[in-house]
Symmetry: none
Subunit: 212 residues, 4 copies
DNA sequence: CATGAATGAGGTTTCATTCAT
DNA sequence: TATGAATGAAACCTCATTCAT
């Protein structure tokens, strides 16, 4: 299994009837509930189904196996974060570079923080579920968004450094992870947000100068 | 399990006899072998014992349970990294700030990179084994080392910012994680090393200025 | 379940409307398709229904349960074989004994061989479906046909030996089964046909003489 | 699964301690007990383990899966039959051809009849368990034994017809199957035995003449 | 009549851990 | 002390069958 392929975690069948859509929703939400209340190691398909108010059989009608269930939850979460960042990229166009970075970083941190508990819980299941491939995919999307954003920066003379963006993203999300997993206080979180902005701004400024 | 307590993962008895030490060594190494060859989900105590050339019973003589076994392996790994960083801190005393950061970051990256495969594999087991508490402990040790190092910096007027150090560490190790888990190429690794130095230097310079 | 009762496997309702007949046909054929393509252990009612282009519910409208479905397919197959043999019996009347046997055996072998794959596949499901009772019933019909045929033989002085016919049938169909299940080549099949004729002729000659 | 490979059903580990041998024996016998008392479709690994007086875990220590368990039972049974036939082949050397056939056929029928219930029950599980490959293997062994036997016959001018032997075996074992599955009476069995001798004698005589 | 979502008992298999030898 | 046979709870997943729409 390990990392590798992104596919093979797709849901089993797309619900056509209204009832089915509700069911799938309920299962996804129940998954998160169980994850938060019982922890990843006590998350069993039976328990999820029970909490969702359906039978195991129903669960397996929509998700071919436990992994795909967790994968779908993780995917939805990561995509929401990506979208927030992309939105920020759109909003920040043509602003000064420092402002750009600020918007992007804050969008990312905020997206991860709204449901800090969920973010933290999902870190645990990610590796067992093909999460690294997923993370790569989302990271690429963000990278692209940020790349286009930086192109629009007034200060930008040459094309932005793709690798630097990657590093910045890695540092940012890596730091978030550590802090979220650590279960740090809300105040620590606030300080982190502000420092991460500073860190990214400093780094981007540094790489830009270096290349000049 | 969650995060939380650091204790309760200590080995069952400290080997006093020479033979016992050898056995414990063999088991620890076997654990890593199995982890690398079969993956975390196929790591069973029986398999580890078999590869170590002992019986399961013997394994349980030295480790009260599977977690403690994995914990000990993870601990050894993290401690080695911490020690490398602490060494770097000692070596870098009284050098200019930029140089300091460079030494520390490179020590960290190199320590993680010597056995990139092991580093990557251990990420997977960490959460199931009390790894976050361990990570916190080691992070604190590094923080302390770096704090003392920065105090000795010629540029340092006031006391160094503890929180900034924490952020720097988080960014650095978080980025490493992403890259190691991603299984990136050696060349990417080299570029990462150099960029991470830049990033940390830029950030530390920025926070210092900000406070001034 | 075991063997035992022949009944209780009858379809649920005899289709009166033309559309219904078509549906039942489609389901029966789908059953065979699935059996051949996926094997007996992967034959699920849902899959059969899907291949037949109807819903499971519809399938259960015409067959009270999975067994009855398989039973009906098996029944149709066995009856066709029986009919071919009975036809041969009618055709062979008043011919010399050797000729009679030849006609009957070849009719049987040919009937089984036209769709060798189906014959082979059905062997697997037979025991789970009340097949032995069915086989007995069909065997009895053939026995009767052959009995009447032999009565018409010029060589026949006394009444033919019922038990000998049974043995002959058992040997013949048993050998066929082994070969069909073995998935033997078409050439092996041809040789089998010819040898089976010889075998039955020899046996019938022997019993007749013995009784004389 | 289907037919095909003979391997991949081998037991998981050969018991080294005396206790283990007893356990394996108990499990095998329990398998047969359950097969006879509850039928193939109600034979669960848990039930077998329970009847054997061990836990499921123990069962799976010696048999990698349910199939291998059934396979081993079937194998033991078929091998015993083969051995009886081979013994008969040795005993019948240099006797007249008719006598030879008689000995072999009776040995086969008797071997199958001693535990008619077991023989019948095993027919049902054979196809799900790689039985056809096994049957082929055993058939070949018998064929070889009979071939060598026939070579020693005084009447034997040329080399015996391999294919004819195969047909004879198929007819004989096929007929046995039908009768055993039919659950026929002991008297029917006795008559079958005698007729099968006659049948095989007649057939072998016929083929021999034909070739001359 | 047809549909297909829902059911849930129950089967197979794993593996951390113990303890008699 | 070392061994490895035995344990058994518990997880995942299937699929025949029903019934509301």
């Amino acid at each position: 299994m390990a990392s590798g392929t992104l596919a093979a975690f797709e849901p089993r069948k797309t619900p056509v009837q209204a009832r089915a859509t509700v069911t799938v929703q309920a299962i996804s939400e129940a998954t998160i509930q169980v994850l938060l209340r019982h922890g990843a190691e006590s998350l069993t398909t039976t328990r999820v189904a029970h909490r969702a108010g359906v039978s195991v059989g129903t669960l397996y009608q929509y998700f071919p196996n436990k992994q795909s269930l967790l994968f779908s939850v993780l995917e939805r979460h990561l995509e929401k974060v990506t979208e927030e960042v992309e939105d920020a990229c759109r909003r920040a166009r043509y602003k000064p570079l420092t402002e750009m970075i600020k918007e992007v970083v804050e969008a990312f941190v905020d997206a991860k923080t709204v449901r800090a508990d969920i973010s933290a819980a999902l870190y645990k299941i990610a590796p067992d579920v093909g999460g690294i491939a997923l993370v790569k995919r989302e990271a690429q999307r963000m990278r692209k968004g940020i790349f286009r954003l930086l192109e629009s920066a007034p200060e930008c003379k040459a094309s932005p450094d793709e690798f630097a963006i990657q590093i910045m993203l890695a540092a940012m999300s890596g730091a978030m992870r550590l802090v979220l997993e650590g279960g740090d206080s809300t105040t620590a979180m606030r300080k982190l947000r502000e420092q991460l902005v500073l860190l990214c701004q400093a780094y981007m400024a540094a790489t830009t100068n270096q290349h000049a």
